[in-house]
Symmetry: C2
Subunit: 334 residues, 2 copies
Amino acid sequence: MATRVTINDVARVAEVSVSTVSKVVNGRYGVAPATIARVHQVINELGYETSLVASSMRNSRTNIIGILVAEFEPFALELLNGISATLRGTKYDLMAYAGNLTPEGHIGWERRSLSRLGGTLIDGAIIVTPTVEIPHSPVPVVAIDPQAGTDMPIIVDVDNSGGAQKATEHLLGLGHQRIGHIRGREDLKSAHLREAGYRQALENAGIPHDEQLIEQGDYQHDAAVEAARRLLDLPQPPSAIFAANDISALAALGVAAERGLAVPEDLSIIGFDDIPAAAQSTPALSTVRQPLHEMGSHAVRLLLSLLDGEEATAPQQLPAVLVPRDTTAPPRAN
Amino acid sequence: MATRVTINDVARVAEVSVSTVSKVVNGRYGVAPATIARVHQVINELGYETSLVASSMRNSRTNIIGILVAEFEPFALELLNGISATLRGTKYDLMAYAGNLTPEGHIGWERRSLSRLGGTLIDGAIIVTPTVEIPHSPVPVVAIDPQAGTDMPIIVDVDNSGGAQKATEHLLGLGHQRIGHIRGREDLKSAHLREAGYRQALENAGIPHDEQLIEQGDYQHDAAVEAARRLLDLPQPPSAIFAANDISALAALGVAAERGLAVPEDLSIIGFDDIPAAAQSTPALSTVRQPLHEMGSHAVRLLLSLLDGEEATAPQQLPAVLVPRDTTAPPRAN
DNA sequence: ATGAAAGCGCTAACAT
DNA sequence: ATGTTAGCGCTTTCAT
């Protein structure tokens, strides 16, 4: 754990000025070949590398893209995978920063992280699932799957309403006519869009609207359990349920079990997200998947074009992918 | 994309000196309550945040842990998951840096990244799968799964020999007596350890050593295909093969198919690593898994104790987990 | 209680 | 070809 080798150490040992070392390191003109050789030799001997931090204070460009996440959970990690793959071969390095691990300050973490890194350390940022608007950023920013309003300029997310529509049409296609919906969190854009997709599918199928079939699940297990119970307690219970996320769908699966309902024979259930647990449940949960890899890839391409000085593009919606598994089947003939 | 708000902006608007602002931000004593209030107000108005970069040049501590990876691939991402979870609730933020994405300089990326970030930006580092020794680091370092020698002081990795032994004993337990081995890359420590575990298991079972049953597969598909062919061409071919990694095992699976051998009836195959493709193959590959989540968690705990000034600990070996799937079964009765 | 000044490691404009 | 200097944003003595 030796102390850091700085440009000063190199200059001293090579018996030149620091600016000469800097010129050599950055390949600037106006240094004698002999000097270049000697400096390089000292650099190797000492194992010197320029400090990213110090040089980023002088240079505007660092060739580093920052990925700002609240936390490294599976959703963010899968995005990171696509981002990393897309960045390979470009001149950019990748720095992922989780600035929300400390107990304090959880809301608005993205604004904080962006201010702390932007303008100096990173040339541009991709923010994963931001919770608040970013009014003015020091660097170009692309948001992935923003939770709140749509005021962020550049956005990549899944086609929530289209995905919900696919899920509902899947049930419709199996022959279901009475389809319930467990709604997501009121304050999140995605919840509204998913509900809209559900309504759209029913409308397209010419099925009259029944407000009783929509219950609030808040994207959370407990609330979804209650919602599912109310749905199944209906005088005319639904033969299928589209839940706004997999957590809720899994909750509904539990309620079906507690009622002695066979899934999918007595009740079909489909979720949204395709979280890992979805594939593990018994029976395996039918759902709709966000193409995370491609979303990350898309975000990178958008950011790179922004960094090349191109104009802001319209929001990018990537299609959701239907993943039919074992919780959806035709309704029991009656 | 407004320009960055600096401490100077705050000072100017609040009509105080920058040092006063700094004191307020860092909660130092000796500032009038009225001044504190005014400065805070301006900070909020302007949306100021201290620059990580600038402050890290003055402070020795940043409360940021750096994870240095060559690339964000599944192995590193899974580790990141464990690392992030373990760091939650501590005072540390997490910064993951992939410094190998640029085409040039791929070997020794870890030394480069460490020099560039260490000493200023990060308080300590966890390096994933380093390829070279780190002679002197500016900050405490823990290595996960180093590829080369064992000269790195603090290491976390899977128990390679133990895992190989488990795999071999699994085959032994099924009744196999003649077990081949496709060896990994000569220059990697893990390959030697896995071979050693294989030999140990056979020795423990009192099975005489047959050098013909070990072939070089280099951890690579093509070489492993050749190795598997040679094994199966033997006058007395093995009834089971332990491959040093899943790539090689999958290659062997292909060779079995090309020979018309049924797996696992005619030939049992087991790999090592549990890469995603392992679960996808037909039949699904039996293998041995590295507990990546726990390895990440362990590395964090080691690093934190190092940062608390504790002494270097001995290398940590985490047990590998046997994952029996469908490519291993008792040998055909003969 | 406040501010002026030095310095962290580095780069670039400007001498020499 | 080389060195001197200023300054990036910040924290920390050290005056005042």
